[in-house]
């Protein structure tokens, strides 16, 4: 029943994303209009996949570091990806592929660095150290980025920041294809680790006693969650709050079992981002808002409401 409602909601927002837009497309033309076929449909799908990837990444990271604050961005990935993008722009490499690729490379480099710092005393991935390392690497990447930006051309500077705020304007069937090819592997890895994540949430010692291979699981989950985030940032810039909020929202309906929570988070993240993108495109048409601002504007009040229910 719950699953049906969630699925229905997903179908509804996807349909709205195709029907609604800053320009008018007549009902009769919906199936033939190039605006719908080449812009709205791929954009809605991209938003759904990116939102889903970020939410699943957030849900797994929260279990991994046993911290409700964890999200892909707290762990330094956004900083790394942003730095990659700014480097590409500063080096005049902002071609169709270079920018996302550079962002992805930056995200992976930050992951590697955070992971390396998180490995204390021989392959022991300490969640607290990981979180601290994430914050530190993120802040460092941010500082390097700002330094580059303030030394580069004023126009490029502004545009780099715009891209960083996240947006789905680059959506096309090609980007949908890129992310659709890229997502399944990390998603399967995380889904297969669902049981271990349940155990890990109890604490490492209990998990070990209950038969989880703690260290390999942690490594696998961390890399898969990073890969999901990297792919999402690569096609759509830095979109905040989805990875933080959606898993918490979904725990209300689906509890703490990751076998149910992960798929629910995927769909929930997709719904949130598609809905936010509709607002971004339509609210101030013909102008457009950065979708990352809309997710924050919608997500933060929702989250505040949740926190109140939680604490009372």
């Amino acid at each position: 029943m719950k699953a049906l409602a969630l699925g229905g909601l997903a179908a509804l927002v996807l349909a709205l994303a195709v029907i609604l837009g800053p320009t008018h497309v007549a009902w009769a033309d919906l199936s033939t209009s190039p605006v719908v076929r080449d812009l709205r449909v791929p954009r809605a799908l991209l938003a759904f996949l990116v939102g889903g990837a970020l939410a699943v990444s957030g849900a797994s990271l929260q279990a991994l570091v046993r911290n409700p604050l964890a999200d892909p961005f707290l762990l330094g990935l956004s900083g790394g990806a942003g730095l990659g993008a700014v480097l590409a722009i500063a080096g005049h490499l902002s071609g169709p592929w270079a920018l996302p690729l550079a962002a992805f490379a930056g995200a992976l480099a930050a992951t590697a660095l955070v992971y390396r710092l998180g490995l204390v005393a021989d392959a022991e991935l300490d969640p607290r150290v990981l979180l601290l390392a994430g914050v530190a690497v993120g802040a460092f990447a941010g500082a390097v980025m700002t330094a580059i930006v303030s030394l580069s051309d004023a126009v490029e500077l502004r545009n780099a920041f715009l891209w960083l705020w996240g947006g789905l304007s680059g959506a096309s069937w090609l980007t949908v294809l890129v992310i659709a090819v890229y997502l399944p592997l990390p998603l399967i890895v995380l889904y297969a680790s669902a049981r271990s994540l349940d155990l890990l949430a109890l604490g490492e010692e209990p998990a070990r006693h209950l038969g989880a291979e703690v260290t390999p699981v942690k490594r696998r989950v961390y890399l898969a969650a990073s890969a999901l985030t990297g792919a999402a940032v690569a096609v759509s810039g830095v979109i905040g709050f989805v990875g933080l909020i959606v898993p918490h929202l979904m725990r209300f309906g689906w509890g703490h079992r990751h076998r149910a929570l992960l798929p629910a988070s995927f769909v929930g993240g997709g719904i949130l981002l598609v809905a936010a993108d509709i607002l971004a495109r339509v609210a101030v048409a013909p102008r457009e808002l950065p979708v990352g601002i809309v997710t924050a504007l919608v997500g933060v009040p929702l989250f505040a409401l949740l926190l109140r229910r939680w604490t009372t």
Binding site: T23, L39, P42, P96, G170, P286, E288
Partner: protein, 295 residues
Amino acid sequence: MGLRPHRPHLAGVLLALAACRGAGHRQAGPSAIVATDDAGRRVALAAPARRVVSLSPAVTELLFALGAGDRVVGRTHWCDYPPQVSAIPDVGDGLNPNVEAVSARKPDLVVLYRSPMDATAAEQFDRMGVASALVSQDRIEDLARAARLLGALTGRAAAGDSIADALGALLSAPPPFPTSRVAFVVWDNPPMVIGAGSYLDQLATLAGARNVFHDLAAPSATVSLEVIAQRDPDAIVVLSDSGALPSWAHRPEWRTVRAVREGRIISLAGSLFARPSPRAALATAELRRRLEGAR
């Protein structure tokens, strides 16, 4: 920030020109030239400025056009016209300037772009006793006003008036009937276009074209790609120094725009088109020629 974006009042720049011409006599007061800049600040000089630091490319170009190029002792990193500017010491950025680097050039006048980012720097120059002027330069009429102001401050009033008059004539001539519709695309992801507030919108009108985003009051704005596709401009205009086609022209999502699909992309040189300049008439003619070529 404290600086409110009010327009300077109708009279524009108030010039109190004294001395300089035979009839005027040096008064007891130390200020022989008093003018008001675009922020409404009083700019007073004892004599025409001899050492000017220009903190914007448009002002540098204007000073050369006034015949005061030899008095420019500092310029921004971005000043690229006329070619002689490369010999002038570079003081860094024009926005949020390095006050120390500027004052090291020992200027008697610093000309800044009028923006909230520069208001603090102007106050710092005031405190150091260096005259400074905040000059708007977003539209052709701003530049005409700047020509008169800088003409007065450099003792080149006649040249300033003649540049201002030429720019005024360009603006007051009835624009040709628009024969094409264009969109200026300044960035691809997210798509950003030029609106009515920009100099380029003005230039399009003068060149016989209509900016399809004239309804947006801002100088530039982020819009949805589908709006560009739906407004269906005859040509897309981009600024580029290399003259090469932008890489996004080949991306599938941009090919929903007819002008992109049909290859009607006009690439304009940044140094002539990115800012209003005394060469506005030249820019207009060039744009017109390019638009006709694209048809």
